[in-house]
């Protein structure tokens, strides 16, 4: 079968990351530029940049944490037979099924220093876990985790077991089979899960509102700032920036995802 080589195949991993970042940056710049032309002022920057940078501060570590834990538990679910497997699967799906406010409520109950668990965790970490950036990161991690887990699990299950068998016959220990064979072969599905997880972390609203508290300059992420800006003139600039960021990011991801057909 004749195969079509897409842009993705001519780029290395670092170049792909650069394309994504450039696409998001281009969308941000484009949206800001158009907003500036329409509004005749660039005073929106101060209103938009704070929540934007905070959102990145929250979403990036949340994606990394959700990615690592999601891939690990996706691998365990795909390969392992162990007690508590069904429980892990159920817990992993809860953030998708439950309304974000319910998740937020339970997180608040769990993380508040007044509760037993929250008090213990607060002492371990050394600072409060609610009404600050840490709380927002936890909420975004919980929101992104199931997407990373499900995509990782499905793609790991799709790896040809004979390739792994051949690697074992070569003498590779199981951890090396996982790192050198299984995960690289499942990388497309894992990358898709990370992308969706990152998008979910960027847009997290309900739980972040409850656990973060929507404190201006401290826990007001972009999605919270949008609601707050609905009565202000910045709303159009903010929405335009977000829409154009989303469009350019999706175009970038689409170009990168155009694999062999």
């Amino acid at each position: 079968m004749k195969r079509k080589i897409g842009l993705a195949w001519s780029l290395g991993t670092k170049q792909k990351i650069v394309v994504i970042v450039a696409a998001v940056g281009a969308g941000f710049g484009l949206g800001f530029g158009i907003a500036h032309l329409l509004g005749g002022t660039i005073a929106y920057w101060g209103v938009v940049s704070g929540p934007f940078l905070l959102t990145l501060r929250v979403a990036l570590p949340a994606t990394v944490i959700a990615g690592v834990t999601g891939i690990a538990s996706g691998y365990a679910l795909a390969k392992g037979r162990f007690p508590g497997r069904n429980l892990l699967e159920t817990i992993g799906s809860l953030p998708i099924i439950l309304p974000p406010t319910v998740i937020g409520y339970y997180l608040l109950e769990t993380l508040s220093p007044g509760t037993q668990v929250g008090g213990f965790l607060t002492r371990v970490v050394g600072h409060d876990l609610v009404y600050n950036v840490t709380g927002c990161i936890i909420c975004s991690t919980v929101a992104a985790y199931p997407f990373c887990l499900r995509a990782a699990r499905a793609s790991i299950e799709g790896v040809d077991p004979r390739v792994e068998q051949a690697a074992r016959a070569m003498g590779l220990p199981n951890w090396r089979v996982a790192l050198s064979v299984t995960l690289p072969l499942a990388r497309r599905g894992i990358a898709a899960g990370l992308t969706i997880g990152c998008a979910r972390a960027l847009g997290e609203y309900g739980a972040t509102l409850m656990v973060g508290g929507d404190i201006n300059g401290k826990t007001r992420t972009l999605s919270l700032a949008i609601l707050d800006s609905f009565t202000t003139p910045e709303r159009n600039a903010m929405l335009l920036i977000l829409v154009l960021m989303a469009i350019t990011a999706m175009v970038g991801v689409g170009l990168l995802g155009r694999a062999r057909t």
Binding site: A169, M170, G171
Partner: protein
């Protein structure tokens, strides 16, 4: 003399019942029989990919499976090389990396790659060491798979219908290559096939299979190779 492989296994999968016992010395033993006779299942049991219901497997006198004594040495520690029907190479790695991954000895990556390169040269795959499996033909992939199966200095090589996915011309070339390389490496091998011609041309011993049982065993008579004289012709890399 210790047998290179001593197998006595039973395994039931659904309605299929495998119950086989055989021994082999050095050289290539062929498990020959129709599809569904249990040949590939036997290979998987020898490699430790599947556990038998009962029985033993000894490789060079070393017990790697003994159900009665609950001995099941892991696939990694059996020192077997495997060659599958369609190569089953790692698609994200070059031919050289595929083989280097199997090399157990050597100090560091450079030494492993040097050994891998020499194996690729031995199987006539020197021209495409840096290419990924997706850009190789079926015959080229099997050459790489053969190099990978031997590069780890295995105690036993298992070849599961390595030529069945190839066209007749390439099959003929690779038959000669497999025999030549395995015999020169001095590694005992078990090859599975349902092709009578392939069994005759590659095997020193043919073990006939049917419906999960060994139904016959025949040593293939081969002319004694002349001592001295010209070296054997090199096998080309056109496949």
């Amino acid at each position: 003399m210790t047998a290179a492989l001593d197998v006595a296994l039973t395994r039931r999968i659904g309605a299929f019942d495998l119950d086989v016992a055989f021994t082999m010395e050095s050289g290539i033993s062929v498990l020959f029989g129709p599809s569904g006779a249990g040949k590939s299942l036997t290979l998987a049991l020898i490699a430790g990919l599947i556990r038998p219901d009962a029985g033993t497997v000894l490789i060079n006198g070393r017990v790697v499976t003994d159900c009665a004594r609950h001995i099941h040495v892991s696939t990694q520690d059996r020192r077997v090389g495997m060659v599958f029907q369609d190569g089953v190479l790692l698609p994200h790695r070059s031919a050289l990396d595929n083989v280097a991954l199997a090399v157990r000895q050597g100090d560091g990556r450079r030494a492993r790659r040097a050994i891998a390169r020499s194996w690729l040269e031995r199987v006539g795959a020197a021209e495409f060491v840096d290419r990924r499996p997706g850009s190789l033909s079926g015959g080229q992939r099997q050459r790489v798979a053969l190099a990978r199966g031997l590069a780890g200095e295995p105690a036993l090589v298992l070849l599961d219908e390595p030529l069945s996915a190839l066209d007749a011309k390439v099959r003929g070339e690779l038959r000669m290559l497999i025999r030549e390389v395995i015999v020169s490496a001095g590694v005992p091998a078990v090859l599975v096939t349902h092709d009578a011609e392939e069994a005759e041309e590659t095997g020193d011993l043919i073990i006939a299979y049917d419906d999960g049982r060994v139904t016959g065993r025949r040593v293939v008579e081969r002319p004694t190779p002349p001592t001295g004289g010209d070296p054997p012709p090199e096998t080309g890399a056109s496949a």
